[in-house]
């Protein structure tokens, strides 16, 4: 009497589904040629399981400011985001910290102490469940160069998003700062949005 190694229902996942390799597609990309304060992907196709955002660039603040990077979905800046994460510095042990914020106005993905200079940053973020009407989940990693002798900082970010009383899929993603993302002599930022099946 035989048995199935994969006892899945006829309407469920097939063996092929289970062994299929991930399929990554570049949806859109942007390379700056001038300074911008926000980068937005709109009309995101709803045909993937997961979105992946790959970013690199220069950010700048005037004076002794911290530049904070934010992810926002569907143009929303209400209290619809939850954030948790860990910051780790490349030196100065003891300055690491863990944070947790609920009902925030964005997913916070790190930042830098720029002191009026252009500083490099890079990050990679995955957005799960983005086509669904339920809560979406975000996780990512980022690294920031900083001014003033402060150590380079790496952050690990996790978060979630839900549009209050509405239940929309994510159709747009904005990277915003309140400062400038791509600036300095190179005016450089490169952002890629991938869809993963």
């Amino acid at each position: 009497m035989g048995y199935s190694v994969f006892p899945v229902a006829s309407t469920g996942l097939t063996v092929s589904d289970l062994v299929a390799k991930e399929d990554w597609t570049l949806i859109s990309e942007y390379k700056s040629t001038s300074s911008v304060s926000s980068i937005t992907f709109s009309n995101i196709p709803q045909t993937y399981r997961t979105l992946a955002l790959n970013v690199a660039g220069l950010i700048e603040a005037t004076g002794t400011q911290t530049v904070v990077l934010r992810l926002r979905f569907n143009g929303n800046s209400g209290d619809q985001y939850n954030n948790s994460g860990v910051n780790v510095q490349s030196s100065a042990p003891g300055n690491e910290d863990v944070y947790n914020y609920t009902n925030s106005d964005a997913i916070y993905i790190g930042g830098t102490w720029a002191l009026g200079e252009s500083k490099r940053w890079a990050g990679f973020y995955e957005i799960y469940n983005y086509t669904k009407t339920s809560t979406k989940f975000i996780r990512g990693y980022s690294s920031f160069e900083r001014s003033g002798g402060y150590a380079t900082k790496a952050t690990i970010n996790v978060g979630s998003y839900r549009e209050g009383s509405t239940t929309n899929a994510i159709t747009s993603i904005a990277i915003a700062t309140g400062g400038s993302i791509a600036t300095g002599s190179q005016n450089y930022a490169a952002v890629q949005l991938f869809g993963v099946k």
């Binding site: 304060s37 926000s38 911290t66 915003a176 400062g179 949005l193």
Partner: protein
């Protein structure tokens, strides 16, 4: 002059560089004020 936004339309592949709208600029100023103030911060980046 308001800050610039780069908007990438994933459907057409077109990139539009445009000034922020009034509403976008208002949010930008809120974001800017947030990181300029000490109370900010749902941010991981203040110096320890």
């Amino acid at each position: 002059m308001k800050p610039q936004i780069a908007e990438i339309n994933c459907s057409t592949g077109e990139v539009e560089l445009r000034e922020m709208s009034d509403a976008e600029y208002a949010q930008h100023l809120i974001d800017k004020a947030a990181y300029e103030s000490e109370e900010v911060t749902p941010t991981p980046t203040l110096e320890g």
